[in-house]
């Protein structure tokens, strides 16, 4: 456990525990407390990370990967909680439990990222899973309950597989710490870790096991689906695989890397193709996020340093632009009442900021040069190329073209063209709702421009 970063996980936990007591007098104070806790964490970590990026040698960073991921967690969590305060969560669910669950999930994620023990990693993943599936139910529509049940019954069995893996590792290593495991290479540990990786594959929603992702992102209430797609599935699923791939640097990784490569290519293709004929906007975004997860997994499957850097960078980029896209779909749903793309037309005139931020985000997903998405995808493709998986690199390129295809299709359908008659009287959402989306798009653009700084920072991971 990285002691000096501990505060990032303990403060949200204690504030979530304290929340019900504050809420006795007035709910507003509780909500403000939650937001302030997250804001302080965010300012702290962003100060730390900006210093380390701009002045790399002065402040020695303990563990660059952890700090980077904590930064991502706090940005997305702050955006979601700030967004849901003005989104009117009170109408749908009990705000106190909603915010305490968000705070708990933040502390779970930060501690998960900081943990150095395999079993504790599993524990925090369990906590995160419990919090997130409870959050899914915070929508009055019956779909959210169905989504929660599917999420429960499709992802929790995966933790059993992880425990089987951990038992094998336990049998072959002195202790479960990452340093000890990474040092002594051993076939039994390798199989145990592969069991764990397959367990986490189910949790991260890649193609053979992606069924729950579609229903959950579509069914859950919009800010929560943004939170899920943005950060929970990533930290709860792909981060563990990245961590294990870092550990398995000296292990014989041919079989597990071929499994990972096969899954990632399958994910990219089916995610990209599936999104083309979708009617519902959130389901289309679900398919696209599956496809982007495929890219992260492709990066990891190379087990090379550039691959892992590319995966982490794409994880950060995907977190930002997927959150923006889902929050925009939440705004559209709030204003028009539906996310069915066939009914929405020409929203750009009425909701300009939402449209333009979602255009920036989708362009970045598709990988248009100046934006950050392009750089991380290029890194992934280079990593694939270097390791020799040339066919899959080409498939990755083709899939990103298809991604561009269906995003342009979606924009043309939803944002441009003649305004649908039903939508004439809708207005732009209130400004606070737009604040997180605007900040996120700015981050996308800035990350795109200052990509060299970020890359030099990320290189310190390996």
């Amino acid at each position: 456990m990285v002691i000096d970063l501990l505060s990032y996980s303990l403060i949200p936990m204690f504030s979530s525990l304290a929340l019900p007591f504050f809420a006795k007098k007035n709910i507003r104070i509780a909500i403000i407390l939650a937001n302030v806790a997250l804001l302080s964490g965010f300012i702290n970590i962003s100060y730390l990370i900006i210093n380390s990026i701009t002045k790399p040698d002065i402040i020695p960073i303990i563990d660059p990967l952890t700090v980077f991921l904590i930064f991502t967690i706090y940005t997305v969590a702050l955006a979601i909680s700030f967004f849901s305060t003005y989104y009117g969560i009170e109408k749908e669910a009990n705000p106190i439990s909603y915010y305490s669950l968000i705070l708990l999930s933040v502390s779970a994620m930060t501690s998960l990222v900081m943990v150095r023990d395999l079993f504790s990693l599993y524990l925090f993943v369990e906590i995160l899973a419990v919090c997130s599936f409870a959050l899914i139910t915070s929508d009055i529509k019956s779909n959210s309950i169905e989504a929660a049940i599917k999420y429960f019954f499709l992802t929790f069995p995966a933790s059993i597989l992880i425990i089987l893996g951990i038992s094998l590792v336990l049998a072959s290593q002195k202790a479960l710490d990452f340093e000890i495991i990474s040092v002594s290479t051993n076939i039994m540990t390798m199989i145990g870790l592969s069991f764990v990786i397959i367990g986490f594959l189910i949790k991260s929603g890649v193609v053979p096991f992606h069924f729950w992702t579609l229903d959950v992102y579509q069914g859950a209430s919009s800010p929560i689906s943004a939170y899920l797609a943005g950060i929970i599935t990533k930290i709860g699923g792909i981060y563990a695989i990245i961590k294990i791939s870092i550990i398995m640097k000296y292990y014989p990784v041919e079989t597990i890397s071929s499994i990972l490569l096969f899954t990632s290519i399958l994910t990219i293709l089916i995610g990209a193709f599936g999104a083309i004929a979708q009617k519902d906007m959130k389901r289309m975004l679900a398919y696209s996020s599956i496809s982007q997860m495929g890219y992260i997994l492709a990066g990891v499957s190379t087990f090379s340093s550039t691959g892992i850097i590319a995966a982490v960078f794409h994880l950060f980029n995907h977190a930002t632009f997927k959150t923006v896209l889902f929050l925009n779909s939440a705004c559209i749903e709030k204003q028009t009442g539906t996310t069915n793309m066939t009914e929405l037309k020409g929203l750009e005139k009425k909701m300009p900021i939402t449209s333009w931020t979602s255009i920036i985000a989708s362009m970045s997903t598709a990988g248009i040069p100046p934006l950050s998405g392009f750089w991380s995808k290029i890194l992934v493709i280079i990593a694939l190329w270097q390791v020799g998986y040339i066919k899959s690199a080409i498939i990755a390129i083709i899939a990103s073209i298809i991604t561009l295809g269906y995003f342009v299709l979606m924009q043309r359908k939803v944002f441009f063209g003649k305004l649908a008659e039903k939508l004439t009287e809708i207005k732009e959402v209130e400004s606070p709702l737009l604040l997180p989306v605007i900040i996120m798009s700015l981050m996308i653009i800035l990350a795109g421009i200052y990509v060299t700084y970020i890359y030099s920072y990320l290189e310190k991971i390996m």
Partner: protein, 103 residues
């Protein structure tokens, strides 16, 4: 000598794992699903204790099992809460009826 138990334990673990999985795949009733899920987590407990016994470090295995039992209890509790709520809203505990999100 103690190596005999390890392979046999893993044989029984696969049996329990398979029966739990079969129960989850086949049954329509959500509570039956939960029971299947419970069976599978039982299998994981056996796995931990056999590896603990193999490296003769029983106490470490015991501490892990205790934590796992706690996790299992919390998960089952929230699962049942979810089932009850879905029963309250959809008036059914048949999972095949909960499928209006397609495509």
């Amino acid at each position: 000598m103690q190596n005999i138990y390890f392979p046999l334990d893993w044989f029984f673990i696969t049996l329990i794992f398979f029966s739990g999985a079969y129960c989850m795949i086949v049954s329509k009733n959500i509570i039956k699903l939960l029971i299947g899920f419970e069976i599978i987590s039982k299998a994981s407990i056996i796995a931990i204790i056999t590896s603990g016994y193999l490296i003769s470090n029983i106490n470490l295995a015991q501490s892990i099992i205790i934590v796992m039992i706690l996790v299992e209890a919390v998960v089952i509790a929230t699962g049942l809460a979810l089932v009850v709520k879905s029963y309250r809203i959809n008036k059914t505990i048949d999972i095949t009826k909960l499928s209006n999100m397609k495509g």
